[in-house]
Point group: C3
Chain length 662, copies 3
C-alpha cells in the first residue's frame, strides 16, 4: 500500500462510475480509499436489516485494482428511521433547544438507547469486514465533537454527569469542597441534586464548568472506546484510528488517542471557509506538530484539502501550487500518509461546495494534475522518511485543562489560550526554528528550551516535572497567569503568585492589571515595544529583571524576569508582547540555550522543517509566498537537493527537499 489515499463515496454516484474513478485513481497514484463513514442507512436501511453487499462489492472492486480500503463507522449520522423512533437522541443545547434532523452529529453520546443501536451496527460491520484482507483499517465516527459546539444538556447527560461526578468525588462533601459550593449557596446534599451548567440567570461556577468540559470529553472517549472494543473483537490485522481536528477543544485528544493505533488529522489550510484567505502558515505548522504530540509519534492526514472549501459559504480557491505545498508541509511535519478529501465534489447535500480533486462534472482538471504531480513527487520520499522524528530543540506545552479554564474565564475578552500559544510558535517559526508541541508531562529531555505559556492551572506533579527538567539544566519560559489555580479551577491562596512556580521563577506577583482595550509600553534594554492582554507587576526575589514597564502607575516595575535555577534558567514574561518584541526576546533565549539559529535571514513565508533519521537528515524548504524565492548558497552548503530545483530556487508556492548524510 502506497502513501496517498482519497475519501470516496460510491453511494453518491451511479454504480458504473466506479470503474472510471478507479482507473483515474490508479493514474494519479492513489493506493487506498476511506469509505462509508456516513452510510448508516445504506448499511441498515430498516432497523435490524443489514445490507453490506454494496460495500463488499466496492471493496472487492478496489481489491482487484490493488487499492486498499479504510472503513468508517457511521455513527456521526444516525438515520431518519432511528431519529423518528427515538427523538430523545437529538442533543439539547444550553438554552434547552433540541436540535433536529437535516445535518449531522445529531446524536447525544450519553443516550443509552443510542448506544445500543451503535453497538449493533458496529458489531455487524466488524463481523462483516473484520477479516477482509483488503480492509486495512477502521475510522471511528467522524470528527468527534464537531457540531457539538454546544455540548449536550439533555436529561441523559445530566444523569451521566452525575454518575461521572460520583465516580470522581466519591462523597458529595468532596464535591462541595472541590467546587467551592459555599459560594452563592451552591452546596449539594446529594449527587443527584447537581444541575448541568446550562443557561443561568447570572453567573456560573467555573469549577462546575471545567468538570463539565472534562466529562463531555470523557463521554466522547468512552463512546469511541465502546466501538473500538467491538471492532478489536472481530478484527484481524486492521488498525483503528479517528480523524481529529487540530486545536478543537471538545475532546482531549491525548485521552482519545490512547485507545487508537494512531491518530489522523483533517487539514484545511484554506480554513474552515470562514477565515480569509487561509490559516496563518505558522499556525498550520503548529497544528501538524500538535497532532504529532497526541501519541508522540507520526500521524496520518485523513482529510487533506483538495480544492476550495465551502458549505453555504465558500473559501478562496487554492492557487496553483498551494495544494502541493500544503501536502509537502504535512509530510514535513510528520504525516506518514496523505488522504485527500474528497475524490469528486458532491453534487447534493450540505457539502456541495467542499470541492474534491474532481469537479462536479467528474472531469480531471487543474487540481487532478497538481495532485498527480504531488503524489509522484513525494511517494518515494514518504517511504524513506516514515517514522523519522523531528529534530526540534524547543517545545511548547499544550494542556486541555488550561485551554478549557481560560475559555471559561478569559480575563481579557481578547485573550485566547490557543492564540497565545500561536504567538509563541510564530515567533519561533519566523526565526525558522522548529518546535514540538508537547503535553505537560511529556519527556523534555531532548529539548534545550521548553516554553509553557499560561500555566494557569498547575498541578503539583506537573510543577515537579518542570522543576526536575530545569534543575537538570533545562531552560523554561513561563508567562503571566501561571500558577493561579489548582486542578479544581480554584485560586491558590496559600502563597502569592505565581503559586507553585514561585521558587523556580524567583519572583512574586502582588499586583496585576487586565489590559482591557489598552496596551503597556515595555523596555527591554536594546529594544522596546508594547505589551497587551494582561500585565503582571513583578517583584524579583532571586530573579533578575529583563524588561520593565514604562507607562502606567507601574512604570519602572519589572515586566520580564530571568532566574538561575539549579543548572537551568527560568524566564517569566509578565504580559503578551508585540510580535517584534517577542521575536527579539525569543531570539535571545535561543542564543542563551545554545540553539543554532541558522535560517533566520530567509524571507518571511519560507518555512524550514527537518526530519532526522539515523543516517540522513531531510530538510524541507517550503515557500508559502507567491513569488520565486532563492536560498543563499551558504544555507545549502553541504546538503544535497533531493526534490526540487538544484540552484536553490523555490517556485511560487514551491518546495525543495535537501538531504544531509550523517
Amino acid at each position: 500500500m502506497g502513501n496517498f489515499g482519497v475519501c470516496y463515496y460510491p453511494e453518491h454516484w451511479d454504480e458504473e462510475r466506479i470503474e472510471t474513478d478507479i482507473s483515474l485513481m490508479k493514474d494519479i497514484g492513489i493506493s487506498y480509499v476511506r469509505l462509508a463513514e456516513f452510510s448508516w442507512h445504506k448499511m441498515e436501511p430498516i432497523e435490524g436489516q443489514y445490507d453490506f453487499k454494496w460495500l463488499n462489492d466496492v471493496v472487492d472492486k478496489f481489491a482487484d485494482a490493488g487499492i486498499s480500503c479504510i472503513i468508517g463507522t457511521p455513527t456521526a449520522a444516525p438515520p431518519a428511521w432511528l431519529m423518528n423512533k427515538h427523538p430523545e437522541i437529538f442533543p439539547v443545547n444550553d438554552m434547552g433547544v433540541r436540535v433536529t434532523f437535516n445535518g449531522r452529529h445529531h446524536d447525544c453520546q450519553s443516550n443509552k438507547t443510542y448506544r445500543e443501536y451503535v453497538k449493533k451496527i458496529v458489531t455487524e460491520m466488524a463481523k462483516e469486514f473484520g477479516h477482509n484482507k483488503n480492509v486495512v483499517g477502521w475510522q471511528i465516527d467522524n470528527e468527534f465533537g464537531n457540531g457539538h459546539g454546544d455540548l449536550c444538556y439533555c436529561d441523559s447527560c445530566r444523569q451521566a454527569f452525575i454518575e461521572w461526578l460520583e465516580e470522581k468525588y466519591k462523597t458529595v462533601d468532596n464535591l462541595n469542597k472541590a467546587w467551592g459550593c459555599a459560594f452563592w449557596s451552591q452546596e449539594y446534599n446529594d449527587f443527584s441534586e447537581v444541575f448541568l451548567p446550562a443557561h443561568t440567570a447570572a453567573g456560573k461556577n467555573p469549577s462546575t464548568e471545567l468538570d463539565f468540559k472534562r466529562f463531555c470529553s470523557d463521554l466522547i472517549v468512552d463512546f469511541s472506546k465502546a466501538q473500538i472494543d467491538i471492532i478489536r473483537q472481530y478484527s484481524e490485522n486492521q488498525f483503528i484510528t479517528h480523524n481529529c481536528m487540530g486545536f478543537a477543544d471538545k475532546v482531549n485528544y491525548y485521552d482519545l488517542a490512547a485507545d487508537l493505533d494512531f491518530v489522523c488529522h483533517d487539514q484545511y489550510p484554506g480554513g474552515f471557509y470562514l477565515q480569509m484567505p487561509h490559516e496563518d502558515n505558522a499556525f498550520l505548522a503548529q497544528t501538524l506538530e500538535l497532532m504529532r504530540s497526541f501519541k508522540n509519534k507520526n500521524f496520518w492526514i485523513m482529510e487533506q484539502q483538495a480544492g476550495p472549501t465551502g458549505w453555504n459559504i465558500m473559501g478562496r480557491t487554492p492557487a496553483p501550487g498551494q495544494l502541493s505545498l500544503w501536502t509537502a508541509q504535512a509530510i514535513a511535519h510528520g504525516a506518514d500518509k496523505i488522504t485527500y478529501f474528497r475524490w469528486r465534489t458532491a453534487t447534493f447535500g450540505t457539502e456541495q461546495f467542499w470541492h474534491g480533486i474532481l469537479p462536479h462534472s467528474g472531469k480531471p482538471g487543474r487540481r487532478y494534475d497538481e495532485i498527480k504531480y504531488t503524489i509522484n513527487r513525494y511517494d518515494e520520499l514518504l517511504d524513506e522518511i516514515k517514522d523519522l522524528e523531528s529534530d526540534a530543540k524547543v517545545a511548547i506545552v499544550y494542556s486541555y485543562d488550561n485551554y478549557h479554564a481560560l475559555n471559561i474565564q478569559p480575563h481579557n475578552p481578547d485573550l485566547s489560550y490557543v492564540g497565545v500559544l500561536a504567538d509563541y510558535y510564530r515567533a519561533l517559526y519566523d526565526l525558522k526554528i522548529e518546535a514540538d508541541m508537547v503535553s505537560e508531562m511529556a519527556d523534555f529531555s531532548k529539548y534545550k528550551l521548553v516554553i509553557a505559556p499560561l500555566q494557569y492551572i498547575l498541578k503539583p506533579e506537573v510543577k515537579e516535572h518542570f522543576d526536575e527538567y530545569v534543575k537538570n539544566g533545562g531552560h523554561m519560559c513561563f508567562t503571566y497567569r501561571s500558577g493561579v489555580k489548582d486542578e479544581n479551577n480554584i485560586c491558590v491562596s496559600d502563597c502569592e503568585l505565581p503559586g507553585l512556580l514561585s521558587e523556580m521563577t524567583g519572583i512574586e506577583i502582588n499586583e496585576y492589571d487586565c489590559l482591557r482595550e489598552t496596551e503597556v509600553t515595555i523596555d527591554l534594554g536594546q529594544y522596546s515595544g508594547k505589551g497587551k492582554l494582561f500585565a503582571d507587576i513583578i517583584t524579583t526575589k532571586e530573579a533578575e529583571r529583563v524588561g520593565v514597564y514604562t507607562n502606567n502607575y507601574y512604570s519602572g516595575e519589572t515586566a520580564i524576569s530571568i532566574n538561575n535555577y539549579g543548572k537551568g534558567l527560568v524566564y517569566y514574561i509578565g504580559c503578551e508582547l508585540d510580535d517584534n518584541l517577542l521575536n527579539k526576546l525569543i531570539y535571545s533565549m535561543l542564543l542563551q540555550a545554545k540553539i543554532e539559529v541558522k535560517y533566520k535571514e530567509l524571507d518571511r513565508g519560507i518555512e524550514v522543517v527537518t526530519r532526522k533519521g539515523k543516517d540522513k537528515t531531510y530538510i524541507f524548504f517550503l515557500n508559502h509566498n507567491n513569488y520565486v524565492a532563492k536560498l543563499n548558497k551558504d544555507l545549502i552548503e553541504g546538503i544535497e537537493v533531493m526534490i526540487g530545483e538544484k540552484n536553490g530556487l523555490l517556485e511560487p508556492f514551491g518546495t525543495a527537499v535537501y538531504v544531509k548524510e550523517k
Copy 2:
C-alpha cells in the same frame, strides 16, 4: 370612484370623529377607504357572535359621502379569546420558540383549527358585505409573510409539509433522489419520517431547505385561496386583492397573484424605518416595476407613505415635496390607484409613530396640504393613463427559486440575489433607461435586451425560452453562478459550467474563485475597474473575450465574454462589476442593441419614466434631488408640458409630466 384613497380605522377613534374625517377626506379628494383588516374582535367579539353593525354604519356613512370602501379580512390578527382557546395556533420558530400574543401575524397558516375559524369569519363577512354596492372590493389578510420571518416549524406544519412532499414526489424514492439523501445518511423510508429543516447540530440539506421555502409559499397561497373562494361565492362586482411587499421572499407573488384580480403594493420610500435615510431611488423604481410584473399589468398602491414611519424606532421625516414625488413615482411606474397609509396617526398600539396624513391631534398640517396638492395634481392624469404600458426595451429576470437558493447558499456572505439585481437595474437607471422586471417565462418579444443575472437554478424549459429569444435576435446578459443547479437545488454534473447555458454563451468555466473580502481587477479595453463577490475564470469557446482579469493567478484570463448566437447576442459577466464598470458595459450593450440612450446626461437623481398609450406618450421627470434642476431644451423638444413648470425647471423633489402626441 376616483384614484386616491386612504387606510382608515374608525374603531381607533371616538364615534363622532368620522364626520370630521369624512369632510376632510372630501376636501383633499379621497374617494375610497380601506377598512377593517385588523378588526376581528370588533366583528366577532365572542366566538360565534358576529357584530357588523358598526362596520355597516361606517360603510353607509362613506356611501352618503360618495366614498367607496375596501374591506380587509382580519386574519393577520386573530383575537385573544381564540388564541387562549387554541394556543397551538401560535407559530413556532426554528429554535422551537412558540411566539405569543401582543403583536400581529401570530397565526400558523397550516393549523386546521385556525382554518375553521378563518372560514367562519370570512364567510360571515362575505355574506354581510358581498352585495353591498359601496363595498367595491376586498383585501385578503395583510402583508402575507410579514412577521413570518422565521417561518413556522410546528407539528402541524411538519404534517402539512409531509403531505406537500407526498403530493409532489409520489414515492419516497423520488424524494430521496431529488434531495440527494444519500449524503450524510439522510434517506427516508417513508414520507412520515421527514423532519422540518429547523435548527440542526451542524449543516442542512439545501434541497430540503428550498422545498421548505416553496412549501411555505404554497401554504400562504392556499391560505389566501381558501378565503378568496369563500368571498367569490357571496360577492358581486367586487374585486379581490392583497397588499404585497415588493421584494419580500415569503410568498411567491406570481403564484399569489394568480388568484387575485390585481395586486397591491405597500410602498415606503422612507424605508421600513430601519434604513437611512430612505431606500435608494433606483430600488424604489425597481420595486414598483417588480409589482407590475406579478400579473403583467398595472397595480394599486394599498399603502403609500404619508409621513415618518416608525414602531419603536422612527425613520426620518419626509422633506416638503417628497410625499408628492414618491406618489408621482408610483404613478409613473404603473400604479393605477394610490392609497395612503394612514389617515390619522394612531395614538396607541405598536404603530404610534407610523405617521398618517393627519398627526395625532387630527389637525390638518403640512402633510395634509401636500397630499391635497398631490391628489389635485394627478387625479385627472391617472384617469387618462390608466392601463397604459411601459415602453421599456430592457427587462431584468426575477425568480423566486434563485432568490431562495442563493439565500440558502450565498457562497459569499456579501452576495445577495436582490442586491445583484439592484446593481443591474441601477446601472440602467443611472443611464435613464427604463427596464421591466419579468419572470423567467415571460414574453420577451418586446425587449431588445434581457438581463438575467444569477441563473443559478436553471430549468430546461427556461433555458429553451432564453434560447428561442436569442435565436430570434434578442440580446441576453448572464452572470457568474448560472446554470449551476437543477430545480432540486442539486449541482449539474453532466457538463461543465455554465451548464445548460454552455452553448448559448459559447464558453466553459473550469475554475472559479469566491472573492471573500477581496476584489479582482478587470480590464475592459477602454476602461478598467474592479470586480467582487465571485470570479468565474472563463474559457472562451465560440465566444469572444470582452474583459480580462489583471490580478491573481488568473491574470490574463477572460472575465467577460460575448457570443453571437442565432440572430442574437449573449453576454456573460464573470463577476460582480463595480458601479462605474458596470455602467460602461451596460451602455455598450444598449448601443449594441440599438436602444436610444437619450437622457443619459441628466443629473443623477433625476428619474425618467415613460408610459405609452395609443395616441400619446407620457414622460415623467422626477427630481429626487433637494435642489432645482433644469431639463435642457433639446431634451424637451417636441414634447409638451402637461403637469409642472413650463421652462423645464424641476423644483427640489419636484416633478413634471410631458406629453408627446403620436
Copy 3:
C-alpha cells in the same frame, strides 16, 4: 459603631481564619460587617432543619471585637435541594427558556411556593437574630433585579400580572381602553385572557409593555415587603435596608425605599468590568446623587469597590489613590457609611476575580494600606457631616415611567433616557455646579433651576407641580419628546405637542425629525454647534427664540426657546445638543437664574462638592486626574483646609476638604 465596614464571608474560609481577619479589620478601622446574604444552605442545609450556630458564633466573635453585624436574607440564591424539589421556581425568559442552577437570582418572585420557603427562612432568621444586640440591621435579598435582565415570563408571573391588572383596572373595558387594544384586534373579554408581552411574531403593544415593567417592579417591592414585615415583627432596634444599583431599571427604587429605613448603593467606579476604563466621573457623581433622592436623605454604600472587578472578564486595576478618591466622592455626595466589598478575594465561585481588600492569599498589600489610610482620613469627618444636606441650586428630574417608556420606544436607537440625563448632569459638572437628582413630585422650592429632560409621559399632577414652581419664580428646562404621552403610554391627541407643557413653554410643535445617523446644525447667536438624536421644529407662540436650525428643510426654524411664565422662566430645547453647545446654554441658564459659577475655571476632572451644615460648610475638591493639580489662591480664600495639603495642591487622584464657618 464607626463609619466603615466590610462585606465578609466567613463560610468561604477555614474556621480559624476569622481571628486573623478580625485583628486586621481592627487594624484598619473596620467597625461593622455585612454577613450571610448568600448563605441559605448554611442556614437551612435540609428542608426545615435550621442551623444558625455558625452564624451566632461569628456574630459573637465580632461582638467581642466591638464590630457590629448586618445580616442579609439569602433569598437571592435558593439552594439546590429547593430548586430540585420545585424547579418551577426557576425563571423563564421571553423566549420560553427556563434558567437553571449554577449562578444566582434563579428565583421567580411571584412563585407562591417560593414565597412560602422565603417566609420560613426569614422568620427563623428574624427570630434568631432579631434581638441580638450586635446585629444592628438587615439587608433584604441582594441587588434586586440583577440577573433578572430578562424579567420572568412564567405561568405564575402571568397569573400575578393578571391579578395586578385586575386590581389596577377593575374592568376589562378599562384595560382595553387604557392599552388601546382596538389596535390589531387586541381586545380582551376577560382579564384571564391577557398574555405576557413575551416574544411575538411582529411588534408589541407599548402600553402592555409599560404596565409589565411596572408590575415587575411592584412584584419585587412586594417580595421585599413580605420579608420586611416578618423582620419588623421579631426585630428590635435594627434597621432594614437593601443594596441598590444606581440607575438600574428593574425596580422603582422610590417604591422600594418607602419600606426601608434607608437605602444602600453598590458603587463600582471601575465599572461592572464591562466598561473601559471606568465609569465617567460625572456619571459616578450623578449616580450617588440619585441614591440620595430615593428617600430624600443620605444613604450608605453597601458595596464600595475595593480592587479590580471581574467575573470571567476583568476590569482594570485601580491606580494608587483611586480607591481613596472614590470613597471620598461617595462621602461628599451623601454616603453616611462606606462598606467595602469585599474583605478578601474569593478563591472559588463566579466572583474569583472580583477583588476584595485582601488578595487571594489573605496577605495585606497595597489596597489594604490605601483603605487603612482612607478610613483614618475620613472617619472623624463622617461623624461631623453625617446627615448634612447638599447645597445644590439645580435639580434634574428622574422618572421610572419615562425611563421604561423610552426603553420601549427609543425613537432613535442612540437615544437613551439615562444617557440624556447624564448629558445634562455632565454639563453642570463640567461647570463645577452641583445638582440634585429629584423625583417628579419632589419639593423644588430650594432650587433656582430645575431641568426636566424627556418629560415624555407627563401626568396632569406632575404638570401642575411644574406649573406652580415656575409661576412662583422657578426656572425650568424641558426638552424634545415631552408631553407626548399619557400615563398609559398613549399619545396625547387633544392638543399639539408639547401637550400639557404647551402653555408653560409658550410654543407649539407641529413637526419633528428623528435624526437617525445624522446631525443638525444650530445657531445660538454667540455660539453654534450641532444637535443630534431628535429635532423638534418649534413654533414660538408666547416664547422667544434662543436658537435656530441652520440646515435641512427646517433651516431657520426655532430649535431652542425661552418663555416668561408667571414669575419664572421656561426653556425648551428641541434636540440633544453637542457637549460644548449644551455647556454654553446651561451656563447662560445659570447666570439667568443668578446661580454663582465659581469654580468653572478649574481643570476638567476636578470635582467640587459642598455639604452644608448649620454652622459650617464643607467643600470637597476631588482630583480625578492622574497629575498634580493646584487650586488657585482666590478659590480657597476664606476657607480653611481640613483634610489634605495646605497649599491648594491636589495629588494625582488626591482630595482635599475645606471648611467655611458660617
